[in-house]
């Protein structure tokens, strides 16, 4: 992939990438830094991308790794097993944006990709490298915790 093609493809997805990073990291400055780091890493390794049609999946995965590293550095993630008994009420009492950010990362990853960044369930599963069924289960669980009933938007 040459610089021109990289630029074209990146321009087509950068808004989704930024939004994803913003929801993951919670603030605009960290999201912009994550975007910079992602582009840098992607640029460095794009020669190894054999199938350019997977560019979006590939660069989003890089972004998620960058965001996860940043979150790990800040030690904000909660393990799936750490959800408290009163989780539903706790999440319900938070503003939606904060509630999404407070979800365990396995759940927030799916919900951010699906409902805020506009990926299909299959794309989200590919990006996260998990089976589609697992992604669907996590999606249901996340929506239940957030008390979101998106109905038709689910397929948007």
């Amino acid at each position: 992939m040459d610089w021109k093609e990289f630029t074209q493809r990146y321009e087509g997805i950068k808004a989704r990438l930024y939004r994803t990073a913003l929801l993951y990291l919670g603030d605009a400055s960290a999201a912009e830094e994550a975007l910079d780091e992602t582009v840098c890493k992607a640029l460095h390794s794009c020669r190894g991308l054999r199938q350019p049609e997977y560019f979006n999946t590939w660069i989003t995965r890089i972004l998620l790794n960058v965001c996860a590293d940043e979150r790990k550095r800040k030690k904000k993630w909660m393990n799936l097993s750490d959800i408290p008994e009163i989780a539903a009420e706790s999440y319900d009492s938070l503003p939606l944006r904060d509630a999404v950010a407070r979800l365990p990362k396995e759940l927030s990853s799916v919900v951010i990709l699906r409902y805020f960044s506009g990926y299909t369930l299959k794309e989200a599963a590919d990006i996260l490298d998990i089976p589609q069924g697992t992604a669907a289960t996590r999606q249901r669980r996340a929506l239940a915790l957030l008390r979101l009933d998106l109905g038709e938007e689910e397929e948007a």
Binding site: K14, R19, A28, L35, V39, A42, H44, R47, L96
Partner: protein
């Protein structure tokens, strides 16, 4: 407002947010820097290989492995690294056996050694057309990208037919599989002929391999939480943890925020309860870290030694005062003020849109500078730095005296007539007797 209304409103807010511009431009610039920044590792390796080739040849480790058929040459090619030798002795090596050709140059990848932070590839170059070839490696990955630290050529003076090795280090993330390994071959005879001219490398061949190491054979990193403070040269360091891999041992430290100086370099060695000593690697990456005082220092690995404890012995620390005055270089008059005692200013010359600042540096004092600012206080970009006994920008000057080297810094984005250079080291602490701390190796989960 119910949750679904809140969702729609949040989506509207997100849609209205401006997407920051400039990531591509900044990434391109960083990539340009990285291309230059990684390569000097090869140059450092080239300096060290002559030194290291003379040692370790008669060690017990080398003798033991020499009894294994087919691996004798491999061990001989690894005298620069105790950890890699130990890995081979313990059969921690994966055979590959892939061959690629281009323009009458044939390259065969024979073996690789892989752990979660380091990949070393061994190959052989043959050619009937080009008797003297130099090889430049490049590694990349098809999907995930760990944070690359550097890529080193371990034996750059290897001749055609001899085993060559190349190492790749990462700081976080694991090295994934497959790995794309490219080798560009340079005709040294042609390069020498061109050297008097405007030198540009002449690549006569390029080959690419898709290496698929068996990840089930990659040893798990052994992680040990420590959480202990040590005082070194009047400053406090917290030893957070230790990671032991087959090819390196990492000491993860954090500087105390109250320290009046920042740590620039740390020398130490580790001794196991059985008396085996492990020193800083002689090649490649020896330390890495972030700008928040979190650093990782590497020593050779006791992975195969069944150690129950290690004693860390700190011998030297280089510190940089947080309030250290920067050096001002007047680019018009070619003068510098406030130089550190181990640094002599040679000059500054314009090269196109960039400036090259050259200094003569005492070898005992490590590198001279690490940060660069324009007259307006804005950081300028370090395109490359090089260390040599010959100053390329001032070719009329004599070779550097013993114990000194020329350092050249190529800077871009400079506006105005001056540049400010932040010294890398201001104070050196050397231990009369090493500061020791003993650590029991009781394995814990990863950080």
């Amino acid at each position: 407002m119910n949750r679904n209304d809140e969702y729609r409103r949040l989506m509207q807010e997100l849609d209205a947010l401006p997407v920051p511009d400039g990531s591509l431009r900044r990434a391109k610039r960083r990539e340009r820097i990285r291309k230059y920044a990684v390569r000097p590792l090869s140059a450092v390796a080239a300096v060290l290989v002559l030194f290291t080739a003379l040692i370790n040849l008669s060690s017990d480790v080398a003798y033991a492995a020499a009894q294994i058929p087919g691996l004798r040459e491999l061990v001989r090619a690894l005298t620069f690294s105790r950890s890699l030798q130990d890995a081979v002795c313990n059969e921690y090596v994966q055979p590959v056996g892939l061959t690629e050709s281009d323009n009458d140059v044939q390259v065969t990848v024979d073996y690789l050694i892989l752990d979660e932070k380091n990949l070393t590839v061994f190959c052989r170059v043959e050619s009937g057309k080009y008797p003297h070839l130099a090889a430049e490696p490049d590694f990349s990955f098809s999907l995930q990208e760990p944070c690359l630290l550097g890529c080193s050529v371990n034996n750059p003076d290897a001749r055609n037919g001899e085993l060559r090795s190349f190492s790749l280090n990462v700081s976080h993330g694991s090295i994934p599989s497959p790995v794309i390994f490219r080798l560009k071959l340079k005709d040294l005879d042609q390069s020498a002929a061109d050297a008097a001219e405007n030198y540009t490398p002449v690549y006569v061949a390029q080959v690419e391999f898709t290496l698929e190491p068996d990840l089930s054979l990659v040893a798990r990193t052994r992680h040990f939480e420590v959480g202990r403070d040590v005082e070194i040269g009047g400053h406090k360091l917290r030893v957070r943890s230790i990671d032991i891999l087959p090819t390196s041992m990492s000491l993860n430290v954090t500087e105390d925020e109250a320290n009046t100086s920042a740590l620039a370099a740390l020398n130490f060695y580790a001794v196991t309860d059985r008396g085996d000593r492990f020193d800083t690697p002689r090649k490649g990456v020896t330390a890495h870290g972030d700008t928040h005082g979190n650093m990782t220092y590497l020593v050779e690995s006791p992975f195969f030694y069944d150690a129950k404890s290690v004693t860390l012995c700190f011998t030297r620390a280089d510190w940089r005062r947080k309030d250290a005055e920067p050096v001002r270089v007047d680019l018009v008059s070619g003068t510098a003020e406030n130089l550190p005692s181990a640094t002599r200013f040679i000059g500054a010359r314009r090269e196109g849109d960039d400036w090259v600042v050259t200094v003569l540096q005492n070898l005992d004092a490590r590198q001279a500078f690490w940060q660069f600012f324009g007259g307006d206080g804005a950081p300028c970009t370090l395109l490359s730095s090089s260390t040599s006994v010959v100053p390329f920008t001032f070719p009329d000057l004599p070779v550097a005296p013993d114990g000194w080297v020329y350092e050249e810094y190529t800077l871009s984005d400079l506006s105005g007539d001056e540049v400010w250079l932040q010294p890398y080291v201001t104070d050196v602490w050397t231990a009369a007797t090493p500061v020791e701390t003993k650590i029991e190796l009781k394995e814990t989960g990863k950080e």
